[in-house]
């Protein structure tokens, strides 16, 4: 289960101002498949995610200690090319944000910046939109402003955008919690179809969703990584008391 680790976290500690948000996290994220991160609200799930693509750098007053190894190299090292890291690790946020351009340019933005697929841009965009499950709905209106899309469509657009730069990892921060049930189902289905090719980290606060889609599960509780296991083991026979309590709905 942990032989093929894509991301290895070693003694990761994060402080926001005076708050110790992530407490000594140690984990090995398996390559490919969906690893859910579950836990009560405010326990650091998003922070953990954002530390993987160093989006934490954007926040004010953040202190980070420890290591995160992606394919062997520590991403916090001073000479890390952050833009390259973020190309390899893509992200979906809870509320999808369109870029102020038309749909085509939204998906083309990433490849253009990183100078990918220069003469095959049209194909690349079509491919990404298809993998995101949005192509059919937008193929006739690629030049329309992205801002006009519905929330569910925007999230799939965000997925297409994330895919456009050929990532290896997809960080998903509660990507369906703001969507209506049908759109949520769409997004879930797309991610499930992608999990054989990508390492997907999926933060959710809905146990049912986690049970539905996970291959592996991480349980976080107030900044600590409490338990980790394959989905089957985790849900059937949780080892930690806190995990048991959470799964039974007694806490969080």
């Amino acid at each position: 289960m942990t032989e093929d680790s894509h991301i290895i976290v070693k003694n990761l500690n994060v402080w926001y101002g005076g708050n110790h948000v992530l407490k000594n996290i140690n984990a090995r994220i398996p390559a490919k498949g969906i690893t859910s991160i579950i836990g009560p609200s405010g326990c650091g799930k998003t922070t953990l995610l954002k530390s993987f693509n160093r989006l934490l750098d954007l926040a004010e007053d953040v202190k980070i200690d420890g290591e995160v190894l992606v394919d062997g190299s520590n991403i916090f090292e001073a000479d890390t090319d952050v833009t390259e890291l973020r190309k390899r690790i893509g992200m979906l946020t809870q509320t999808p944000t369109p870029l102020p351009m038309n749909i085509y340019d939204n998906v083309a933005y990433g490849p253009r910046i990183h100078a990918l697929a220069k003469d095959k841009l049209d194909e690349r965009i079509k491919e990404c939109l298809q993998r995101a499950g949005l192509w059919d709905e937008v193929e006739k209106r690629l030049k329309d402003p992205a801002a006009n899309l519905s929330l569910g469509q925007l999230q799939r657009l965000a997925l297409a955008r994330a895919l456009s730069v050929e990532p290896e990892v997809l960080l998903c921060d509660e990507p369906t919690s703001a969507l209506d049930p049908i759109s949520a189902k769409h997004v879930e289905e797309q991610l499930l179809s992608l999990k054989k090719d990508y390492t997907i980290l999926f933060v959710t606060h809905t146990l049912r969703q986690a049970k539905r889609i996970s291959d592996y599960v991480i349980f976080m509780f107030f900044g600590e990584l409490v338990e980790f296991g394959s989905a089957e083991e985790f849900f059937k026979s949780p080892k930690d008391e806190r995990t048991k309590a959470y799964l039974e709905g007694l806490i969080g």
Binding site: V82, R86, P100, G110, V165
Partner: protein
Amino acid sequence: MNRRRLEEQFFKVLMLTSLSIVLIALLTVFGIVVIRGAPALSWEMVTQTPQGGFYLGKEGGILNAIIGTMYLAAGATILSATISLPIALYLYEYAGIHKFASLIRRALDILCGVPSIVYGAFSFTIMLAIGARSSLLWGIITVTMLITPLMTSSIDELLKMVPERLREASMALGTTRIEYLLNIVTRQALPGILTAILLSFGRAAGDTAAVMLTAGYTDGIPHSLGDPVATLPLAVFFQLGSPIPEVQQRAYAAGIILLIMVLLISAISRFASMRLTKFVVK
């Protein structure tokens, strides 16, 4: 109870009256200029330069001022935009060191409030010191000094309204900060930026005090930056006091053209804003 109702009514009427006073005053401004200016407009007026001297010559029109204004305002606006945008973007993105940013903004505030006559006097002093003659170039430089703080402030305010989540969305794809600024921020703020630039153009075109002694004045149309240039406001100012009615007519014609220009700018900026907001992310 009645007293309170009366008070409410009284003040309501007072408020409406106040607003009406202003709107009526606006109307009279337009009215006067149109009444005096419209009869002065003719095909010759806008296609010919003054013949026989701008102050005393009876023939000709104000083409010199029209073209002069275009050159001056366009030059100043372009120059100003190339200065304002980098400053505003820098303040938005990099001047995170708070003290520095607020210092710059305070300096900008002061510069915005400096009367155009002071910029004119300052410029004139420099010109005297280096022996420069009043010309289109110096007019452009002076007006640029005038409108750059205004443009920078406006754009700065605009950029503050760009939603922060756009930054995350862009950075998560692996862009550098400058790429984010140039590709995303400018596009998001584009309608506002355009409006700011257009309004600055209007201000540049309409100013008198800053160009009075720095741009010179002439009957002709400048062929190079070193030539003196006439502008519409100067055309009004210098020709209004002439004893010769035809010259006065030219002043009024210039006045009405200025007004038309203001209206056009307002309409264009509104229109452009509307067309461009379709890409803007809420």
